[in-house]
């Protein structure tokens, strides 16, 4: 008993993980006794439920991540009009109690909205020479679910990054680089506002992976927040777009070296360069523990 307790109660403070995987039950890798999968979600009501959804239900679909091109699970709302991403927060040595039951896997899956323009930007970039309808843009044999994003986008939204021709019956779009960069810059500003008002620590201390830290937020300047926000936005961009945005924001490399661990952007990158996160979660269950525990860096470490 005592030996068992001490092992079970071991707590690792820097063991938090966040990944872009879909929920997976750690039991699955072991092919054990369990016949059920269970997950703890935190989600906006609009993502998982609605009073008037009728026949349709929210569904997870696989879409290439705009940064890596690797397929990940996203949640499409019942109406087909909103798309959400799933982030898994996992600390080592945690389990859940729910009423009189235990869930061994202590992961928390947080479902948050994702702007579909990020998801279609790679397709607009690919077809940037010609005007096309949205349906023509979002055709991808390898990732057929991308076509379902047509329901998530209004003309107004697409106009943020595209030129448009046609009338109400038939509209065709073409990427406008200048508009796209302007749109991205607004994203960075909005994110920087949010980060600064959330009291997220973005300067030197934030580079540390430990969680024991004083509450000093005084030494962060607007430049720090913008740089930090750029890292978060870049997480949804190809390296090409990321570079263009960085240049337009005037972010320089030398300004970023506040820590030997590297700038936020680098660590954000690690977050989604996750081979197994790109796979269908119904496969490869066994990889979860072995790889994700060691290889991943948490977005939440950066959010510190």
């Amino acid at each position: 008993m005592s030996r068992r307790s001490s092992r079970l109660l071991k707590l690792t403070h820097n063991g938090t993980k966040s990944t872009r995987t879909m929920p997976r039950n750690t039991q699955n890798g072991k092919k054990t006794h369990k016949e059920v999968n269970q997950w703890i979600f935190v989600a906006p009501e609009s993502a998982v439920c609605s009073q008037d959804c009728g026949e349709t239900e929210p569904v997870f679909i696989k879409i290439p991540h705009p940064r890596t091109g690797k397929e990940l699970q996203f949640l499409l709302s019942h109406s087909g009009e909103k798309i959400f991403e799933v982030l898994r927060f996992k600390e080592e040595s945690r389990s859940w109690f729910v009423d009189d039951s235990v869930q061994k896997d202590g992961s928390l899956h947080v479902i948050t909205p994702v702007d579909p323009l990020f998801l279609i930007l790679p397709y607009l970039t690919k077809f940037s020479q010609k005007f096309r309808t949205l349906e023509q843009l979002l055709v991808d044999e390898g990732h057929p679910s991308i076509s379902r994003l047509t329901g998530c986008l209004t003309t107004e939204e697409i106009l943020n990054i595209c030129d448009v021709k046609g009338d109400d019956d038939l509209q065709v779009y073409r990427l406008n680089n200048d508009k796209a960069i302007a749109w991205l810059k607004v994203k960075v500003e909005q994110t920087a506002d949010s980060v600064s008002s959330s009291g997220v620590h973005v300067s030197k201390g934030s580079q540390s992976a430990t969680f024991v830290r004083s509450k000093r937020h005084t030494d962060a300047s607007r430049v720090d927040y913008v740089r930090y926000a750029f890292g978060l936005v870049s997480d949804y961009l190809s390296s090409q777009w990321s570079e263009s945005l960085k240049e337009s924001l005037g972010i320089t490399d030398e300004a970023q070296l506040s820590s030997p661990e590297g700038p936020p952007t680098k660590r954000v990158k690690v977050t989604d360069e996750i081979p197994e996160a790109t796979e269908d979660y119904s496969k490869e269950f066994s990889k979860l523990n072995s790889k994700t525990e060691n290889d991943k860096v948490l977005i939440m470490i950066e959010l510190h």
Binding site: E92, V102, K104, P113
Partner: protein, 154 residues
């Protein structure tokens, strides 16, 4: 829809009960399934009388589990967000099978426990909650809206 999709049962979402006994424990328990949490754990939970360092208005909590002291606090989910315990009754045999998740419980807050150290804003769980606010700013729609500050997006 393509085969092998996972949907979320609407019937279960609307009918599942709300739980006010959801704990994120500070240890891994090698078990999935029923356990007498109310008799052995819930009974030990006490208010410390001081404020928690995580959310305003929440008291610091203490409890005991397997002889160890736990320090905890209630974490309220951000406005508009709900917690769900999702369950898949039947594990699929093939990748092609359609699957369905059913909510068994929902919750608007849970209790976050640490071993011995009281939870603080430096804990990972705080960052998960911060991410929700940041994501709404980063992914909030109408970027032309000059009034779209983090405050009113939230």
């Amino acid at each position: 829809m393509a085969s092998g999709s996972v949907s979320i049962s609407q019937a279960a979402i609307s009918s599942c009960p709300e739980s006010n006994r959801v704990h994120l424990m500070a240890c891994e328990i090698e078990h999935d399934g029923e356990a007498p949490v109310s008799s052995y754990f819930d009974k030990t939970v006490r208010e410390d009388g001081t404020s928690s360092g995580v959310q305003d208005g929440e008291k610091a909590l203490s409890a005991s589990f397997r002889g160890r002291d736990l320090k905890g606090c209630v974490v309220n989910l951000p406005a508009g967000y709900t917690g769900y315990v999702m369950k898949e009754d039947k594990r699929p045999f093939t990748d092609e099978e359609d699957r369905e998740m059913k909510a068994t419980h929902k919750f608007s807050q849970f209790t976050y426990w640490n071993l011995e150290t009281p939870p603080s804003n430096n804990d990972a769980i705080t960052k998960a909650m911060q991410w929700i606010n940041i994501a709404s700013a980063l992914h909030g729609g109408d970027v032309d809206n000059q009034n779209a500050t983090p405050d009113n997006i939230r």
